[in-house]
């Protein structure tokens, strides 16, 4: 989708977003680090990579991760591939339904810069405009080893308190994320979609 130039440059990482490292937060991060429930939102070709990571060959449960059916219970949202505009609306709605310390992991190049569909009329190019992505796993669909590696990386970030995408979303919703979402999805208020 063409980049329009009046895109507002905000430094998202302003302020010390790292968790105020109190003892409680450090303890909470340990728990959050060890048990990470993922919402398996299969939006694209990366979805097929996840079953092997979950089942006997790579066994994601070893590191404490498991698939969850509803966003309310999930911690991490996996965007595994290109995101059409229609799916983006659902992804944003689901993201907002997740509980607070939530993380987003983008798979493959399509979430980074649109990938091979960068000039398609239907997909979005940069996921970061719409959702605070904590971790990207490179590869035009990373293999299960890469996915496992990415998850380990995410867990370390959580333990160290660096995965603060959800705070960024809270702080910069009005001035950065919401205008982007409206710019790409149209003026219609996200929640009461009529003509979809």
């Amino acid at each position: 989708m063409a980049m329009n130039n009046d895109f507002n440059e905000i430094n998202l990482n302003d302020g010390d977003l790292n968790d105020t490292i109190t003892f409680w937060d450090k303890l909470k991060n340990v728990f959050r680090g060890n048990s990470l429930w993922m919402l398996h939102y299969c939006t694209g070709c990366g979805a097929v990579e996840l079953p092997p990571t979950m089942t006997s060959r790579f066994d994601m449960e070893r590191i404490g991760m498991g698939p969850m059916a509803t966003p309310r219970q999930a911690d991490v949202l996996l965007i595994t591939g290109y995101l059409s505009v229609k799916t983006l609306r659902r992804v944003i709605y689901t993201y907002e339904q997740m509980m607070e310390p939530k993380y987003v992991v983008g798979f493959g190049s399509c979430t980074l810069n649109g990938g091979i569909y960068y000039d398609s009329y239907a997909t979005i190019n940069k996921l970061d405009y719409y959702l605070p992505v904590d971790l990207y796993i490179a590869g035009c669909m990373p293999r299960p080893e890469a996915v496992m590696n990415g998850f380990k990386k995410l867990m370390d970030m959580i333990k160290k308190g660096e995965a603060t995408g959800w705070k960024k979303y809270q702080r910069h919703y009005e001035d950065y994320y919401s205008p982007n979402q409206i710019r790409s999805l149209g003026e219609v208020y996200v929640k009461d979609e009529f003509h979809e």
Binding site: D59, G64, T70, Q73, M99, E100
Partner: protein, 301 residues
């Protein structure tokens, strides 16, 4: 004094059952030729759930969650744990069964209070399944109560004292089978986990639970498992000293896990129909044998 023992029982229950849950997930993983999580993974999950923020769908949604956890913790207090009885004489079988019902009613109310139709369908399935597994189990225990003339669980445990041959597992084999099948129903293990069917109705009643509500529900599930398996061990395996009790407990629970790891899931129409075919017939035969012939109670080796 007995309230302190009760509190102690609750702590023991929490620690023991959650570690056992870890092993159970390990065993399931091994069955699926996977590595499986560390033993303390369930602790992590529970504490992580409590550390997260949560949403509330109104008063009844919170009140129901508190009521279900409170009810189940109260039932743990009444269950004799290998000889430790908080209130001697008050551990009546019907009291325990109906206090469990308080737990499930609380969960049902808060689940439906969340307004999600999946939660209502989950609750409807849980209640329908309860009609299925509860009646055969109560018939078998009814036969036992008539046989021994007492419905207090600790008394039923003393009757089975004295070696392997006196266990109800051997005195009332059919009763034990029915007891184990309805135990699987109570635990909502795989063949009977229609209420919390993650693939069909997005984990049933738990669909709207997140954060601390989810934590409380997981705790409630652990305590409920502790009670149900404890009940089975007391009634059918004559729970002896602490070590013997825990070994029997682990054996029963892991045996149930192994079975559930390989089985598929029943359709909800079939669950009640299944329970009212073979298990009910077996339980009636068993109760008739005990009541009319006294085999297994008076007449025994």
């Amino acid at each position: 004094m007995s309230y302190l023992i009760g509190l102690m029982l609750i702590v023991i229950a929490f620690l023991w059952q959650v570690t056992l849950e870890g092993f159970q997930r390990k065993v399931t993983a091994k069955v699926q030729r996977r590595v499986g999580p560390r033993w303390y993974q369930t602790f992590m999950d529970i504490f992580k759930a409590f550390s997260k923020s949560s949403i509330s769908h109104g008063f009844i949604y919170d009140f129901g969650a508190m009521m279900t956890l409170g009810g189940t913790m109260a039932t743990v207090v009444f269950l004799p744990f290998s000889g430790i009885v908080a209130f001697n004489g008050l551990d009546n079988f019907f009291v325990i069964i109906y206090l469990l019902a308080v737990g499930s009613l609380g969960m049902a109310m808060s689940a439906v209070g969340s307004g999600n139709p999946w939660a209502s369908i989950g609750v409807m399935r849980a209640l329908t399944q309860m009609v299925g597994y509860e009646v055969p189990f109560m018939i078998v225990v009814f036969g036992m109560i008539f046989g021994y003339g007492t419905s207090s669980i600790s008394a039923l445990v003393e009757v089975q004292a004295g070696g392997f041959l006196n266990w109800h597992l051997l005195r009332m084999p059919l009763g034990a089978i029915v007891g184990f099948i309805s135990l699987m129903g109570m635990l909502a293990k795989k063949p009977y986990d229609t209420p919390i069917a993650p693939a069909e109705i997005a984990s049933g009643p738990l669909v709207e639970y997140g954060g601390k509500h989810l934590g409380m529900l997981m705790l409630q599930h652990e305590f409920a498992v502790f009670i149900e398996v404890g009940l089975f061990v007391n009634l059918f395996l004559g729970g002896g000293g602490i070590v013997a009790y825990l070994i029997k407990y682990a054996a029963v629970y892991l045996f149930a896990t192994i079975i559930s790891a390989v089985l598929g899931r029943f359709k909800i129409e079939q669950v009640v129909y299944h329970f009212y075919k073979v298990p009910l017939a077996l339980s009636l035969i068993q109760a008739a044998v005990v009541i009319f012939t006294g085999l297994g109670v008076e007449i025994w080796l």
